[in-house]
């Protein structure tokens, strides 16, 4: 089938500022593609460059119905604009000319391009405005007399005036309230059927309702491209996942998380690497290409979100007692897996096996797809643990400073000054005082919450990729629990950690985790996305856990 729009290696820059750094997109007739990204990623520029309305330098290929748009003369481009490609601009002040009525402005392109005579054009304009819900008595109004919602309707109606093949919509719903939004979305869905649309937005709700396919844009490059449903359900690129996590919607259960760092330009290599949770050497050096993977296209040197840790058939017998029974779990980079179960379900045993504190009877543990038999210093650099009882896990002989520095000493990292410096810095991260006084304190001088923070700081000293937290709030007061949970979330966001969070409290698990694995009698009986497990549990045991938890809330 002939492609309606083919964009190849599009590069757009304003002087030194590179906004789009090699974009490849194809659009087939009749489909709707959404371009998603935060503000400043170049989404609007992409839309504008298709219409050749961009002021900067544009290089590459934009092919529309086989014609190279960038090679056309101004005159030829004028012919294409609005007749074949039209745009719904983001609604802002003065997007419509203040001295003409909205009816005139909708009718104008029909007359200007010689498609209709003046009266016919006005009639058609009235039809369009009505269709998009503008009351008749507003037709003769001037833009400043209309509300934001009404102006948006005008903009949409206006774009359809010349019946274009391709419609580019730039944040078409941003200035609308929820009710108007759903109404307009419905109307847009109708027009979808006989038009090709490109929707540029940062709003994932719009994306899910309107588009077939989705391209995630970051730093001037496409990070992930594929079917909207699949990507939103199961994002494979760290940025996409972070975007979805940061977006509030009805099914979000995990507390909102921002994305580490801020977008800066220019960036060498992969544009996302400064904020990525799984950076390796090559990431700052080379720009990753958009390649097929996981049933879509991903631009990532690691092929998308990696599996950090996995277990296969992990089993542990204590004499005749089967504590852990053939457990297969995996934890991806940058995600939190909550392991939920009652006391005696085998959760802690499992964690200890992963840490190498127990030897498995059967099965193996894999770290980044490498089987782990012996755990050396390198392993512990990547995986760290926070235990249940900080009163026990911290030696009463070591001061705060000494306790926190211990991992560095054991690993032989850095000079004494450097270790102290780092210890102080990490103590700051866990929101503990960094004063001399505090550093000299001993665990028995500290409260439960403070002790656990010290333990967490200690675990973070080696900058691990995976933090295993075994019921970290079990020995703490309820009020402190919330703070510690918050702290763990912050640490994850700032450092891009993965977390295995072990708990009996499914409510807490819900707030912290991306996925939940329910453990009962040594087996994993249910596993899946947190919001799915909580909304629609399949196993009875899970249901009872949920019931017990909600009774308390």
């Amino acid at each position: 089938m002939p492609k309606l729009l083919e964009i190849r290696d599009l590069r757009v820059s304003y002087g030194q500022d590179v906004v789009l750094n090699g974009i490849d997109i194809t659009l087939e007739a009749g489909e709707t593609l959404a371009i998603v990204g935060e503000s400043g990623t170049g989404k609007t520029t992409l839309g504008l460059s298709i219409m050749r309305l961009v002021e900067g330098t544009v290089r590459g290929d934009i092919s529309f119905n086989g014609r190279d748009l960038l090679a056309l003369s101004d005159r030829e481009m004028q012919q294409i604009r609005w007749n074949q490609i039209a745009m719904v601009f983001q609604n802002a002040d003065n997007v419509l000319n203040p001295v003409y009525t909205v009816l005139d402005q909708v009718a104008e392109p029909m007359v200007a391009h010689g498609l209709k005579k003046r009266n016919e054009a006005r009639d058609r304009a009235a039809e369009l405005l009505s269709h998009f819900g503008l009351p008749k008595n507003r037709f003769a109004a001037y833009p400043h007399q209309l509300s934001g919602g009404e102006q948006q309707r005008v903009l949409i109606a206006m774009s359809m005036a010349n019946d274009p093949e391709l419609l580019i919509l730039d944040e078409p719903l941003s200035s609308l309230d929820a009710v108007t939004r759903s109404e307009i979305t419905g109307l847009l869905k109708q027009t979808r059927s006989n038009r090709t649309m490109l929707v540029v937005t940062h709003d994932l709700d719009t994306v899910s309702k309107l588009s077939d396919r989705l391209a995630v844009l970051y730093g001037g490059k496409i990070m992930e491209l594929g079917s909207t449903k699949e990507i939103l359900a199961n994002p494979r690129h760290p940025y996409t996942r972070a975007l979805i996590r940061a977006y509030p919607n009805m099914t979000t259960v995990k507390d909102l998380q921002g994305i580490k760092g801020r977008m800066t330009r220019p960036v060498s290599g992969c544009p996302f690497h400064p904020r990525c949770t799984q950076v390796i050497d090559i990431c700052p050096r080379e720009i990753p290409e958009l390649l097929p993977g996981h049933g879509r296209k991903i631009a990532c040197h690691r092929g998308g979100i990696i599996t950090l840790l996995s277990t296969r058939n992990l089993t542990k017998y204590f004499n005749s007692l089967k504590a852990v029974d053939s457990v297969d779990i995996h934890i991806e980079g940058g995600e939190t897996l909550a392991l939920v179960g009652q006391t005696g379900s085998g959760k802690t045993t499992l964690a200890k096996m992963i840490m190498g504190l127990h030897q498995p009877t059967e099965g193996s543990v894999y770290l980044e797809d490498t089987k782990i038999d012996n755990r050396g210093k390198d392993f512990y650099k990547r995986v760290q643990m926070v235990f249940q009882n900080p009163g026990e896990s911290l030696s009463h002989r070591l001061s705060v400073l000494e306790a926190v520095m211990e991992p560095l000493e054991v690993q032989g990292v850095g000079t004494k000054e450097e270790r102290i410096k780092k210890a102080i810095q990490v103590l700051g991260e866990v929101e503990l005082p960094q004063t001399e006084d505090f550093l000299r304190k001993y665990p028995h001088h500290l409260s439960g919450g403070e002790m656990q923070r010290v333990a967490i700081a200690r675990a973070l000293m080696l900058d691990p990729a995976l933090l295993i937290a075994d019921e970290p709030t079990a020995f703490l007061d309820a009020s402190i629990q919330a703070k510690i949970l918050k702290l763990l979330l912050n640490m994850q966001e700032q450092r891009g950690l993965s977390m295995l969070y072990i708990t009996h409290d499914i409510a807490a698990a819900r707030k912290l985790s991306d996925r939940i694995a329910v453990m009962h009698n040594g087996r994993i009986i249910e596993e899946g996305l947190s919001n799915e497990i909580v909304a629609a549990p399949r196993q009875d045991y899970t249901k009872s856990l949920l019931k017990a938890a909600s009774a308390m809330n």
Partner: protein, 323 residues
């Protein structure tokens, strides 16, 4: 920036003009009748007439009563009598008014329209060679006083080349009518009108150009471009329509400037309008005429301003609620 001028402003201006007109002659030392009517008139007047005038204008009464009499006469449309022209002042002025209206009207319209068009074209091409040339050229033109321009045109086209008439609004005693008359009038009108137009061209041009520069950056211009509209439509229908708004606001004030400019230009071309009349009256000290002209011109300028103010909301829908 559109600024609202309320009725009160016009009322104050009107009051000032009338009062000034009233007070000045009466503040002169000596016989008030002489101050009002001038020396020559007095010589020609009979004692009875003098007495009657003293009575009419209450010249022997306190000032405030005089003011009352003055106002009364004013509202009856009596502007006095010119002894030099031997006719009521109003008649004299009205006889000359059409020529001035013709001159001022055509110049105002031409300079404003041309200024707007040039401003639009210049603003559209901001920074280009054409723009720079137009800008420098028109700013320089701005520096030439209207009478100098008039004289230059007179000398070049009237004296040296001899293709256009040197003075007057009509060829005297020609007895022309119909199209020949119109042509004659036009031939006499061309030079003074050109002088006046050129002198006031740059105000409209500069203002339009500056506004154009701002307007071109507005979001609706991008929308208009996206609609695939031709440059001509973009320039005039979209940008131009928005750029001319400040010019319209200022037009009221410019009427005053063009009218005073007409004064000088009529002088240069001996064009028989109200301006030339003023000049003649100054020479002969025909005070009633001077006062009459002053009053009439000042009030017409006020009226023109007022009309422009009223029509502005029709052009800019954003200020529809101004009045």
């Amino acid at each position: 920036m559109f600024s609202k001028r309320s009725i009160i402003t016009y009322a104050i201006a009107f009051a000032f003009i009338i009062t000034l007109n009233f007070l000045l002659p009466r503040m002169m030392p000596g016989d008030p009748l002489m101050a009002i009517y001038g020396n020559e008139a007095l010589i020609a007047m009979t004692p009875q007439l003098k007495a009657e005038l003293v009575e009419r204008f209450a010249l022997d009464k306190p000032l405030w009563q005089q003011f009352g009499a003055y106002l009364l006469a004013l509202f009856r449309g009596e502007l006095g009598y010119s002894y030099y022209y031997n006719a009521p002042v109003l008649t004299v002025i009205l006889g000359r008014l059409p020529w001035t209206l013709l001159l001022v009207g055509t110049s105002l319209v031409l300079s404003t329209l041309l200024g707007i068009v040039l401003g639009i074209e210049s603003g559209w091409r901001r920074g280009s060679r054409t723009d720079r040339i137009m800008l420098t050229g028109l700013m320089s033109l701005n520096g030439f006083p209207d009478f100098f321009l008039g004289m230059l045109l007179l000398i070049i086209f009237g004296v040296t080349l001899g293709i256009l008439p040197l003075a007057g609004a009509l060829t005297p005693y020609s007895g022309l009518s119909g199209p020949a008359l119109v042509l004659d009038v036009l031939k006499h009108l061309v030079l003074p009108m050109t002088a006046l137009t050129l002198a006031h061209l740059s105000s409209g041009y500069l203002l339009t150009r500056n506004t154009m520069i701002t307007v071109l950056k507005e979001p609706y211009m991008l929308t208009a471009r996206a609609k695939g509209l031709s440059p001509r439509i973009l320039k005039y229908r979209h940008a131009g329509r928005n750029s001319m708004l400040p010019v319209v606001t200022r037009t009221g004030i410019w009427v005053g400037r063009v009218v005073t400019g007409a004064l000088f230009v009529e002088l240069v071309f001996a064009y028989p309008g109200v301006g030339y009349l003023t000049y003649e009256a100054l020479l002969t000290r025909d005070y009633p005429v001077i006062q009459g002209v002053f009053l009439l011109v000042a009030i017409s300028v006020l009226a023109a301003n007022f009309i422009v103010d009223l029509s502005y909301p029709k052009l800019d829908p954003r200020v529809a609620y101004a009045y």
